[in-house]
């Protein structure tokens, strides 16, 4: 099981970034987080799981467990995008559909000073990732 959303939560992420001084430290954290997010199986990296709107390749696999908690798996071939995905999963993974829909992603990314990545104009497609998660876990 991946740590994000289970042992690493959005609270941990906020603390991590509060302690990261300057953009270089923040991006180094993102790359470290990317290393901690397990890769998707090659068999899951298929068109049906692909998220479009990214200059890099990105995939999302989602399933709901018997407790009604969504188990989300993301991967990207770009490390900063993957680190951003880890940040998202820390907040949304292992949550109910209601919790996922209610989570204020904009405020979260503003807190950790990475809000510009959620902008629709950014080619990294993080917004598309968040939209894809919310759609797959629609109430």
């Amino acid at each position: 099981m991946q740590a994000f959303g289970h042992t690493i939560t959005d609270t941990e992420i906020r603390t991590l970034f509060a302690n990261a001084q300057g953009w270089e430290a923040r991006y180094k954290e993102l790359i470290k987080l990317a290393k901690q997010l397990p890769a998707l199986d090659a068999a899951d990296k298929i068109e049906a799981n692909a998220i479009h709107g990214c200059e890099s390749q990105a995939w999302l696999v989602s399933e709901v467990n018997v407790q009604g908690l969504w188990q989300l798996h993301c991967d990207s071939d770009a490390r900063i995008v993957k680190g951003l995905m880890a940040v998202v999963l820390a907040a949304l993974n292992n949550k109910t559909a209601e919790q996922i829909q209610a989570f204020d992603m904009e405020a979260y990314f503003a807190d950790i000073l990475l809000l510009n990545h959620l902008s629709p104009s950014r080619g990294n497609g993080l917004r598309a990732v968040v939209t894809a998660i919310k759609q797959s876990c629609a109430l």
């Binding site: 200059e55 890099s56 071939d77 995008v81 990294n124």
Partner: protein
């Protein structure tokens, strides 16, 4: 005399901006160039003092607007050495100019089994319209492959030309690789078999003088915004007899001679291809851009750009993890860094105020041929770039590499 780049840069107000708290280092000129104050002033002047529709109204402002609009056409004609102003058709840009040729010339002149010859280096804008023509007419698309070092394989090209070849559509400079294609040779090969030629000059016109008569191409297309002019304006140059023979593409106002509900007769060149109210401000702005460019020592500019290119290539060659793609000659340099996704590099450069482009550069078949599924990092220069910009990019790349 060497160019005084510091003074020239003052003509481009945006270059004084900061991005992410850093001075802007703009190296995405192949996507769009920045605009000199002369162009910004021309746009402003048109809307403040001349704004009226062209060619129709019987009042003074319309007359002034028409005069400025047509003067801009004449400037473009001189700029590319066209014989006649009427051979300059305004379009929204390179893409629309290619579509105009595809839908007017291609759809009506090509038939089943005629061959359209493209190159592996083409931008999607010079591929997709021809695919539409091929699908509708039964024409066949053939593609000039790459030789080693990502240049066009001219031996293979020679073998592809035949009496079935009816059209050659090829870029002057590759937007993705900065390679200057041997278009004079290709045009000669096309003429030998009686094929019509279209040259996509979008990446060329901002870097060196282009002479359509010397090239002897049938069509030459480019965009204003890649040569220091406004967006939304571009040019189709065509040989007179071809343009005369081609049917209108878009129809409506401005392009007609006489309309009744029974029938319509179409206007003369260039108006028969300019339906609707044109981008008047854009054309005037492009004219101002041409004046600006023509006022500079273009030989000195080309030399300065070559020096920047040499500095960039030397710097990249000194980085062991960097691989330069092909042999860049003008404008753009594409490269990859071992094990690092181009987008990650661009993000880290952006944080340092450095603007580059990454990905497939709208040339997916080229990236496929080069086996670069993640695309490349592309740094593209204009004459207003300085040696300091290149130094900043190289230092920015050094910093980005530390992250991985």
């Amino acid at each position: 005399m060497p160019l005084d780049i510091d003074t020239l840069r003052l003509d481009f107000p945006i270059l004084a901006h900061t991005v992410n708290g850093q001075p802007l280092v703009y190296l995405d000129n192949a996507a769009t160039t920045q605009k000199p104050r002369a162009v910004l002033d021309a746009l402003n002047h048109y809307y403040q003092s001349q704004n009226a529709n062209v060619h129709r109204a019987a009042h003074a402002l319309s007359g002034q607007a028409t005069q400025a609009f047509e003067a801009a056409r004449a400037k473009v004609a001189r700029f590319i050495n066209a014989l006649d102003d009427r051979q300059v058709i305004w379009t929204r840009g390179t893409t629309e100019a290619i579509n105009l040729v595809a839908y007017s010339f291609g759809m009506h002149s090509l038939k089943a089994n005629d061959e359209i010859l493209l190159s592996t280096m083409e931008h999607h804008a010079n591929i997709v319209p021809w695919q539409q023509v091929a699908a509708a007419t039964g024409a066949i698309i053939k593609v000039i492959p790459l030789a080693t070092d990502a240049e066009l394989d001219m031996e293979a090209a020679a073998a592809l030309f035949s009496t079935r070849t009816k059209l050659l559509a090829v870029s002057h400079i590759s937007n993705a690789l900065g390679a200057i294609n041997p278009i004079k040779q290709l045009i000669a090969m096309a003429k030998a078999v009686g094929a019509v030629t279209l040259i996509d000059g979008a990446q060329a016109v901002g870097h060196f003088p282009v002479d359509v008569q010397a090239l002897d191409c049938d069509f030459y297309v480019f965009s204003g915004h890649k040569m220091f002019g406004p967006t939304g304006i571009g040019v189709l140059y065509g040989k007179r007899e071809l343009l005369e023979a081609m049917p209108p593409w878009q129809t409506g106002g401005e392009m007609i001679k006489k309309v009744s509900f029974e029938q319509t007769s179409f206007g003369e060149l260039p108006f028969k291809f300019e339906a609707g109210t044109p981008n008047i401000a854009g054309a005037i702005g492009l004219g101002a851009g041409i004046d600006y460019l023509s006022g500079l020592d273009r030989a000195a500019i080309a030399k300065h750009e070559q020096a920047l290119m040499a500095q960039l290539l030397a710097g990249l060659n000194a980085m062991p993890e960097v691989r330069i793609i092909g042999r860049p000659q003008a404008g753009a340099v594409s490269f990859v860094i071992n094990e690092v996704h181009p987008q990650d590099v661009a993000t880290l450069l952006d944080m340092q105020g450095i603007a580059v482009r990454t990905g497939h550069h709208c040339a997916m078949p080229l990236m496929q041929a080069l086996d670069l599924p993640q695309g490349t990092i592309r740094a593209s220069i204009a004459f207003y770039n300085s040696a300091d910009d290149i130094t900043a990019l190289l230092a920015g790349l050094d910093k980005a590499r530390e992250f991985f």
